[in-house]
Symmetry: C2
Subunit: 301 residues, 2 copies
């Protein structure tokens, strides 16, 4: 950090963004493993045969695939997956990839119309909990560079049984992070989240919202990067609180069944509508890493 | 049947096709209920608390929805669902709908480029079995009328543990049906099936194939309708044989887990690639009926 920001090159900025995503991943993994250790009471007894979960990391590298028209596509990522006694399955993936978009896909991406080259780095997290009383969650932040450069991301809460205090606390945490940067961010990004995470064919919201932003390029890269970091920090502060609040509560088989049905709806959203899923599959990403978001069990009874 | 075919109007032909789909549905439902009654041995004991399954029918009517730009869209269908002791969940749906395609969707449909009006009728079946040793299956036949008119459909077998004799018998039944009409049909429609039911991002086939055909308009409506009926008859002959062959075999928890994972792949295919699912959701069909194809339980462990 001895180079003043204004003299940093694009390569420096890319490296800083990627490094931050990896650091955030490390801190989230540590926080979730601490929760796995802490579980006590009836639910610790219920899963007495399970050791506290630990993340397993698997690195992958990108090979050229059908969706990727460029033979010099590069990069890869690391999947970190924990299957534990609080977190039934949580994936925290980071990836940094570059290449050239296929002509069709390039049309949909800002700055790629003329030169389809891209660089993309990000962190993506989805947590599916054993308890139907602990909300599932998604969080993602990313930096994408074409002829333009922008940040995107957000986080949304997916309770099986919405709880007013949880919803309020989750939104409050992201509002604080947003307000620190721009008073317009929270209302805009909250509305965008509600709009984005809507399961059109069911006529229902996927969860209780949060924030969603994309194409964020205020003209001040440092400010946008700082905001993106604050979104990660807000997630790390609020979500473990919600998990601890509910993780020791007992649940019934009926509640579990309801959870599996809600997870079915989550699956429908991810496969039918999610842009991150499409982006990943279209750019020759690792399907195991991309589909890590799918629930360990789901039901369409 | 007193009117000679060559003097029949398009309305007569539509009515005959729709009537056939409903008759086939009735015969399939009866055949599957007979299998539910027949189950004996360890698997009947395993599900002793369950009565032999019976189809529940639910009629639905189409209302205008977002995907449907025409206020005079009409029609509806009947979902028939059985949740039993052999069939964990099987849906046999018929529907007859008409309306006007949205401009974007019309571009993809033969004969709809200039006049987006359509009429469509069909039967669609997906069976998910309790036993991981009994193959899941899909079958669909349909008649679609725009400025053009054609038949489409097919059937593919989705075993969790492919069995050479099952695969051979399944293909043989459809080959006989095809060969009765045109020696080119079976090789063409088998290849089309392999191509269509391919899970691109996984680099794997959904199942062991069968036949798939679309836009079938040989110029002889009677012959095409007769072929389409024979596809339904072939299904009705061969699939119950395969179910009976395996339904009394005991299975293990490991085999069940493998089944749930294969069902996850099935779900990925249906939501990411299946044209019938997209067609249904885009034309304001009933999402409950369209997504009836999704498995009662699935896993992404």
């Amino acid at each position: 950090m001895t180079t003043p920001p204004e003299t940093q090159s694009e390569e420096d900025r890319k490296a800083r963004a990627s490094r931050w995503f990896a650091e955030l991943r490390d801190r989230i993994c540590a926080a979730f493993e601490a929760i796995e250790d802490e579980l006590a009471g009836v639910n610790a007894e219920r899963f007495a045969e399970l050791a506290p979960g630990r993340f397993q990391r698997t690195a992958w590298e990108r090979g050229g695939t059908e969706g990727d028209t460029d033979s010099d596509s590069r990069g890869g990522g690391v999947m970190a997956v924990l299957r534990g006694r609080v977190f039934e399955k949580v994936g925290v993936n980071i990836s940094t990839v570059s290449g050239r978009f296929s002509p069709d896909f390039a049309k949909q991406i800002p700055g790629a119309e003329e030169d389809p080259s891209y660089w993309a780095s990000g962190i993506s997290l989805v947590a599916h909990l054993r308890s139907p009383l602990v909300p599932a969650v998604h969080m993602n932040t990313r930096h994408i560079v074409t002829a333009k450069a922008w940040f995107g991301g957000g986080s949304d809460l997916n309770p099986m049984y919405p709880d007013e205090a949880d919803t309020a606390d989750f939104h409050a945490a992201f509002k604080v992070a947003c307000d620190r940067h721009d008073p317009d961010y929270y209302p805009r990004f909250k509305a965008w989240c509600d709009d984005y995470f809507y399961i059109k064919h069911r006529g229902e919201a996927r969860g209780v919202g949060g924030i969603f932003f994309d194409y964020l390029d205020s003209g001040d890269w440092e400010a946008d990067f700082a905001f993106t970091r604050d979104v990660g920090e807000a997630f790390l502060e609020v979500y473990p609180t919600l998990v601890r609040r509910h993780m020791t509560e007992p649940w019934t088989e009926d509640q579990r069944r309801h959870q599996l049905v809600k997870r079915g709806r989550y699956t429908e959203f991810n496969l039918l509508y999610d842009r991150g899923t499409k982006f990943g599959l279209m750019t020759g990403g690792n399907p195991e890493a991309i589909l890590m978001s799918l629930p360990p069990e789901a039901a369409w009874p």
